[in-house]
Symmetry: C2
Subunit: 327 residues, 2 copies
């Protein structure tokens, strides 16, 4: 059995990754503390409940499964929360990842796939964001992810750990087969908030700022379908197991959509009105985050074919109408 340890495997992206890893012939072992994840989302392999800061638990899980690699999603990932409680982000994300990385090295598990973020770049107006863009994060979420990237490089120099680092742009959509989907608690993501607003499950969507320097004044983001995103992780794992060494890849399509464009597309896909109100800018938001790199497509052979706005919203809407987790 080729076990892969998937931290955060009970979360939105992690659960989709487990499905993709299983399809690719691996057995995903979910390691998750269920603080933001859902036990119901663990459907594709064993579940081991545990915390990123619990080294003893990690040692036990590495000994039990002897995974061939780690795919590390587990993190606190809300910018607003990070700005209000930066210590939690530095402890959970950085100290926690350090603990996990030390456990992996101690277990001789030296192939490591890591979820980083375009938030590590910070604000670079009119600059194409590629993997060589200087990283100047604006908040504790981005800074904590950059610190983990640093730790991975330090541990490569010291112990030969090999890492594929993916810097995500915005992720949306859901498994088209409806087995897993997007749920966060609290919910802060644009698409699920918007779909909830559409069918009255929550108040009108708030658009944070319409005075950005963009054609319609709202922020522009580069959206990737979660199924495309996790496919890249399977390719990244293969890249490492083929001995190709450490590499950083942006995961974005290069096309940006404004918040207003997402709203318009949602109206069109759902054939329903999108109730929204205009609010002030939210701290920590950049004007525009669009990937300027095709490295993942060129080098990994990644093809984000499902990442059209219509497809992402349609898949999210299907999940929104039928999918749910109880626990």
């Amino acid at each position: 059995m080729k076990y892969v340890l998937v931290t955060g495997g009970a979360g939105y992206i992690g659960s989709h990754a487990c499905k993709a890893l299983k399809s690719a012939g691996y057995v995903p072992v979910t390691y998750d503390n269920l603080v933001t994840g859902w036990q119901d989302a663990v459907k594709f392999g064993p579940f081991e409940r545990g915390d990123l800061l619990d080294r003893a638990r990690q040692d036990q899980v590495f000994a039990q499964y002897r995974p061939v690699a780690v795919v590390h999603f587990a993190a606190l990932s809300q910018v607003g929360e990070a700005m209000a409680e930066p210590g939690r982000y530095w402890r959970n994300n950085v100290e926690g990842s350090l603990t996990l990385i030390e456990a992996a090295v101690a277990a001789g598990c030296l192939d490591f796939v890591f979820s980083s973020t375009c938030a590590t770049y910070g604000e670079h107006d009119n600059v194409v964001l590629d993997e060589d863009t200087p990283q100047m994060p604006l908040n504790a979420y981005g800074a904590s992810k950059r610190a983990i990237e640093d730790i991975l490089r330090d541990f490569e120099a010291a112990y030969g750990l090999r890492s594929v680092i993916f810097r995500y742009f915005n992720v949306a959509g859901a498994d088209p087969e409806g087995e897993v989907g997007e749920f966060h608690r609290p919910e802060t993501h644009l698409v699920p908030l918007m779909l909830d607003a559409i069918d009255g499950k929550r108040d009108a969507l708030t658009v944070f700022g319409t005075d950005y320097d963009t054609p319609d004044g709202t922020c522009i983001r580069d959206y990737v379908h979660v199924c495309d995103l996790v496919d890249a992780h399977v390719l990244g794992l293969k890249w490492l197991r083929d001995g190709k060494g450490s590499r950083v890849f942006n995961l974005g399509t290069g096309s940006g959509f404004s918040v207003r464009e997402v709203i318009d597309q949602s109206r069109s896909v759902t054939n329903r009105e999108v109730p929204f109100v205009i609010g002030p800018r939210r701290g920590g938001d950049c004007t525009k985050l669009v990937s300027g790199s095709v490295r993942a497509e060129r080098e990994l052979g990644w093809s984000p074919s499902r990442s059209t706005l219509g497809r992402m919203i349609a898949d999210a809407w299907r999940w929104h109408q039928s999918g749910h987790y109880e626990s």
Copy 2:
């Protein structure tokens, strides 16, 4: 009494800072675990033994003295060691500083002076290193210091912590009155290693690489006299207490000297031969690190008048011949 908490006050720079703070009317409270510091170097105020990771001990010291500010020197600071044992650097420096910063905020002590380093910049050939140069550290020492800078910014946004961050270039020299001086264990610093070699206390100095792209092939560094360096900290403290807000300052003179120039100057100052051998390059060393900023001089009124190479070596040599610590 205006107490100032000085972490690492038993170390080389920290002990000189305690002397300068005392002269400026503060009472420096040294907080040090004595792993790399010397109890004998604590001469200018109370000593509280404790570790950066020990939050309970820090809470007790904050409660006992109610310091008006923190001047935070304590850190592991050897590049070679950082490359071999990065986890120690991330835990001691980053997790330890986070612990201290959280304790300071909890105690309402919101003025914070921090020792960072030009190693946070990484290699920028032919670029003047000023405070806006992108930070791309090459090793766990520089990366750990950059992470602490990030944490300080995050805690300012969340809790109003104000920080003056000093990015040191190379520090040399000693208190001309001979009360404190430079000792490291193990010793890895150029000037003390050289002075030891001059009077036969250790083997010939090793020059790590003579094939760098510099006029004489050896690395170039910007040296600051430790007494000038700590003067900047007193000015930084005043800056914060005057309500001028957070600011980053390089501490360098803008003049670089090669390793060969330091050796030649030492021969001249001591009137003794400097035994040295040529070795290979050492991992983690940059070709040239020279500050391209006069911000500290312009804004803080800092005047690094003792930072001539001859003066630094003369003061170090005087200490070398007469000063010592037992414990």
